[in-house]
Structure formats: C-alpha cells, structure tokens
Amino acid sequence: MKSITKKLELLAPAGSFESLMAAIQAGADSVYFGIEQLNMRTRSSSNFTVEDLQQVTALCRQHSVKTYLTLNTIIYDHDISMMKKIVDAARENGVDAVIASDIAVLHYAAKTGVKVHISTQANVTNIDAVEFFAAYADVMVLSRELTLMQVSALAKEIKRRRIKGPSGHNVRLEVFGHGALCMAVSGKCYLSLHSDFASANRGACVQNCRRTYIVTDKESGAELEVDNEYIMSAKDLCTIDFLDKIVEAGVSVLKIEGRGRSADYVFTTTKCYREAIEAVNDGTFSTEKVADWKSRLSTVYNRGFWDGYYLGRTMGEWTNDYGSKATKKKIFLGKGLKYFETAKVGEFLLETQSLRIGDDILITGPTTGVIQHTISALRVNDQEAESVQKGESFTMALEEKIRPSDKLYKIVDAQ
C-alpha cells in the first residue's frame, strides 16, 4: 500500500483524570474535555473544575499533548458571565483551543485571543459555512452525517479557494472517528427536552433513544411492542477499517467520542486508532491488522459497530440490545496499597472476589492512568501463591508504578 505522509491528529476524550492519563499513555495527540457546565456532557461526565484546569494543561504540556476545551452548548443570556469566565480560564491556562458553536463564544474568544474550533453542534455541512466560520476558527468539526465524498470535496475546495483561518493557514477538517452517534442530525435532538425538560443541547440528554418503545393503536388501544430492535438507538461508529480512506479524504483531525466513558475504554480505543494511524502512515495498514483492532475495540463498551454515514448510507443502523455488547467486562477487586520502586513490585488489597495466576487485570487511577497486565506470579505474606482470596493483601511484579488511589479490576469474558 502507498504510504501517506500527511499525519492525522488523534483527538481523545478526557472526562476525568483517569481518562486523561489513559489518553496520554495510549498515544493521543490531543485531548478534549469540559469544565463545569456549558459542555455537551454536563450530565454524563464528571467534568473538570476551573481549578483543575491548570493541572490538566500542565500535564498535557509535559507530554506534548494539545488541549481543547468544550464550550459548545446553546448559550443563553444568563450563561454569558460563566462562558466568559471559562474562556478567560482557557486563555490564562494556555488551552490550545475552545470547541464552540454559539456565536457569543466565537465572538468573545476572538476578542480575547483564544483559538476556536467549530463544534459539530454548528453542523458544518458545506463549503460556504466553512468559509464563514474561517473568520473565527482554524479547525472545523464537520457534521457527523456527511459522506466521505462530501468531506473530501470540502477538503479539496478549501485548498482551491485557499480558505484560511485566523492563523493564516488553510482551515483543517476534523471528523468523528469512533464512538456513540446521535439518532438525530448532530445537535438537533429535542426528545430529552420534551420528555424530561432536559435539553440535549445543554449537555443534559437523558438518552430517550436508547430505550425500547411500545406503539399503541389509538382506535383499539392495542399495544405493539417494537421487538428485537431499538428503533432509535444507533450503533456505535467505527471507522478503523477505512481509516486510510479518511486520511485520503483530507481529514486532519480524528476525534474519538467518549467523555462519559471509563479510562480503559479511552485507553483501548485511543491505542487502536494510534496504531492504525501509524500503520496508514508507514504503509502497513492491512485487513489482518484491522481484524485485530476491531477485536480489541469490541472488548470495551460498544453498542455494536457500523460505519456511520461516511460510506454513503442513507439510514442509520440501529442496535438490537440495551447497553453494551462489549466482549469483556471488568470486575472490581480492590485497591492499590504501595509500590516498591527498587524491586518494581506493587502491593494491593483484595477487597472482594478472588484472583489467580493467569488472570487478566486492569489498574486505573487519576495519576496512574491505565495498566493492563496478565498475572504471572503472586505473593501473599511474602510466600509464593497460586491465588489470592478476599481480604488478603498481596504483591506482584509490575513495571509501572501504582498508587493508593488506584483501583484494581479483573477482566473476564462478558458472557
């Protein structure tokens, strides 16, 4: 396969310090996150605070990872002072860009010298919209319903018209590459607002689309359950098998959705896409590798995969299950106690369940991020052991440092 030299930027979600570290460890070029409210995961993600921002940006700078702050809900008059506070905090802490859709945010960011990326909430679907937003932003996150042909046409037209952002460089295009998709055209869903007064466009979506429904015949009152299909619940987007085509289409940034997801989800998805991007770059992208990545992506939260609208589908593909179809699940076991640096040994307390040699484990923590490990040896009371039981503390050899804030899980088959 021909090698492609233009590098795709991999943008990963960070809904917590655990996920942030996981994204960094797995090789993200950049991360996006929300602070306080006014972002599209106000309800489902824990979100950072204004006070956390300094630590987040310092950590990312240390690892040469760019930071993008989501500030992309609808903004009302009563939000203006908070919006300005968040933009000011972004500037003071050296955030690389704010992801925005409301014109009030674009306007204030431009006035105060903060870079902006146009959110998918703005539904950029045509070249004139790109040209309009270029006055404010160097990066546009395109609407998720475009085909790759449309994306490619936009990229070519940006070059032809030399559409430049505030930096003086050609505008760059970003697309969603992996994760949950909305049943409505991005950012245009009002179901949650109608049912629960909880606006999805203010980050408070209650996910009505993920449930089952009954159709009632108004004449007879007969009820028909819509069986075997969650008629509004889209499968999750996965583009890893045609990532080469995404690069060829002229996309510059690939975003992984999932600020509401766990650290191991962020780690696995980011790592798979990191490897895939490298494979596209060095010309080793192959069907065998795709099969391996897809198998690994299936181990973490997913509603089944489909290719979204990129390859020309006109209708969404719906899941036939509630929740995740992940092939693996994690079982909480206990917590970290101590790390012996010289011996490279970690000590843990098993608070529940049991653990034995050969088990796959997962360790997550706000500083540790994610460690995946298969147990080859265990020690209880300084004696070699085959297994550990609930209530016992034990040690095992670990290359990476663990901490008392870390949680320990066992990874098992989901079935």
Binding site: H78, S81, K85, A198
Partner: protein, 75 residues
C-alpha cells in the same frame, strides 16, 4: 412552611427553576449555577424555609429541574 432543598454542585445552570419561581431562584454570575435565594448550605445541600404561598411555583421548579436536584416539601 415549606422546605426547599437543592444539591447545588450538580446544577447545570439551565434556568428552569428561575423561570418557574423567579423570586426564589437566580443564576449566579460567579459560577453560572442557580442559587436558592435565602438558603443556608449544609454538607452540599442548600436549604430554605419559605411561606406556603411559594409552594406552586417551586413545585414546578422541582418538576422541571432536568437534573432532579430540587426537592420541595411541606414541613
């Protein structure tokens, strides 16, 4: 009397309570979250004891709160 409680940390500043009972709620310019006027904070819960005439409006505030952090009860 009625007792209104709000778990303020979880507020998303949507303004629904202010729309329902504007004399009892306002949006803070400091953090963009809704503030229960006349309340005292106790372990994260903001509590106000008010006259019964405020019952209907604050009941709507409770019902419309998208993150269900407001509770109104007669005491």
């Amino acid at each position: 009397m009625i007792r209104i409680t709000q778990q303020r940390a979880k507020c998303i500043g949507c303004h629904a309570c202010v729309d329902a009972a504007p004399h009892r709620w306002r949006v803070s310019r400091k953090d963009g979250k809704c503030t229960l006027i006349g309340s005292k904070e106790k372990k994260g819960w903001h509590i106000a004891l008010v006259d019964e005439e405020e019952w209907p409006a604050n009941l709507i505030a409770e019902k419309n709160c998208p993150v269900k952090i407001i509770r109104v009860e007669k005491v």
